[in-house]
């Protein structure tokens, strides 16, 4: 999905604001964090679906709201889309139906967090590329979730590492199906991503080009020779 969450290489955001250090500036952010993790443990959706839900926020609202507002938007959307609560319940804050799902209890939390959700999978096929291969990221623009940011699409690089096969998020986010895809670290030279001297010198990022590289994790379906 090409939306405003895909921020790599975007301009106009100004300097980095390092002023805010508290994880949860106010209590509602803390609650959104806790509710999101607790509801995730109900097992009704996966992390890629969570990301996709947040990306589907209105593009302007995404940029104009804080991080935990993205989470809140995603949580509310998933709860309703997955039928865990009804839209009416969400609106009123009053339960109208009982749920067959059971909350995770506090005693189980440390174990669940400790196990995490590994994405590495066995895969029948051998990886199609080897470290050192020059490959290109395909140009594709799905309206669904992808982990190929726009700034690498169509760009060439070198396979820098192979990480094994992992759950393919583009599929996982849409259907919930866990299909393995070979995962690589791909190295891009800076000028390949952002252009060299360019057509207009003023304020071009390209002046940074020397001795810079960007490494991006890419799934095999994203790339071609």
């Amino acid at each position: 999905m090409n939306s405003t969450h895909d921020l790599g290489g975007m301009h106009g955001f100004g300097p980095i604001d390092r002023g805010q250090e508290a994880h949860f500036p106010t209590q509602w952010e803390q609650k959104v964090f806790g509710l999101t993790l607790a509801c995730g443990m109900l097992g009704q959706w996966n992390l890629d679906e969570s990301r996709f839900a947040r990306e589907q926020m209105d593009p302007g609202d995404y940029l104009n709201s804080s991080y935990y507002e993205h989470w809140l938007h995603g949580l509310e959307k998933l709860l309703v889309d997955k039928g865990v609560v009804t839209a009416t319940e969400l609106e009123s804050g009053q339960a109208e139906e009982t749920s067959a799902l059971n909350a995770v209890t506090a005693d189980r939390v440390p174990d669940i967090l400790g196990r995490g959700a590994p994405t590495r999978m066995d895969c029948d096929s051998a990886p199609g590329f080897a470290v050192g291969d020059e490959v290109r990221v395909k140009n594709f623009n799905p309206q669904s979730h992808t982990r190929a940011p726009r700034y690498i699409r169509g760009r060439k690089g070198i396979i820098a590492a192979y990480y094994g096969a992992h759950i393919f998020p583009d599929q996982h986010s849409v259907s919930g199906r866990k299909i393995p895809a070979h995962l690589y670290s791909m190295r891009f030279e800076f000028d390949e991503l952002w252009g060299g001297s360019g057509v207009c010198e003023q304020g071009s990022d390209a002046g940074e080009g020397d001795k810079l590289a960007v490494y991006v994790d890419v799934f095999e379906p994203y790339i071609e020779q």
Partner: protein, 210 residues
């Protein structure tokens, strides 16, 4: 009528506070969220898990060459040796700063971050400006963080687009030969493990560190 339609809006809460409160009430009432479990989740990441974990990993790698080697080749296992594992750290990769290379980490698409070793990300890491600029003008970003590198040093930016989570292994500061592993860990600030800072010098006023 107005009171009936807005049953919860009379406590001086902002719109978003009310929205979250309604949601929490609903989820607890439906038995979908256990309040104690919520407290446990928040407490874990607000107070127990944080960059002190990563700092211990880094300090050990500085003093123990075999551990450093394990960390660079099998980061997930090496970090688990120290007792850190789980959510958002299932698949770890360490990237080592050297005299030739400086590494920094970003997640341009959301805010992926290695929770078990660094805790939750700082606000700037999640904000648009860092996510937009880290990959396209990393030297300018580093300069804003006060890091001026030799132009001959290669900067590598790692965009966390998969479930691999990156930990920067900063360079060990000079004049630290006589420090203990624990004292060394005190020099490993959070930002140095994201790659937007260097590890502290032993001379630095400890209060200045984050």
């Amino acid at each position: 009528m107005t009171q009936e339609k807005l049953p919860h809006h009379s406590h001086g809460l902002s719109e978003i506070e009310q929205r979250v409160k309604n949601l929490e009430n609903l989820l607890v009432e439906k038995g979908l969220v256990n309040p104690q479990a919520m407290d446990e989740l928040v407490d874990t990441y607000e107070h127990r898990v944080g960059p002190q974990n990563g700092a211990r990993v880094v300090a050990r790698a500085w003093v123990d060459p075999e551990y450093r080697q394990r960390l660079l080749s099998s980061a997930t296992d090496a970090i688990m040796e120290m007792g850190y594992k789980g959510r958002q750290g299932e698949h770890m990769q360490a990237v080592e700063n050297t005299d030739e290379v400086h590494n920094m980490v970003v997640c341009t698409l959301c805010s992926c971050y290695p929770w078990p070793v660094l805790g939750l990300p700082p606000t700037w890491y999640k904000a648009s400006s860092y996510r937009a600029r880290a990959v396209s003008e990393p030297r300018a970003v580093l300069a804003e963080f006060g890091v001026e590198l030799d132009p001959q040093k290669e900067v590598r930016v790692w965009d966390s687009t998969s479930e691999i989570r990156y930990l920067v292994l900063p360079q060990r500061p000079e004049n630290t030969e006589n420090l203990s592993e624990e004292q060394l860990a005190d020099l490993v600030n959070r930002d140095s493990m994201i790659g937007v800072a260097l590890a502290d010098s032993p001379e630095i006023n400890q209060k200045e560190r984050k």
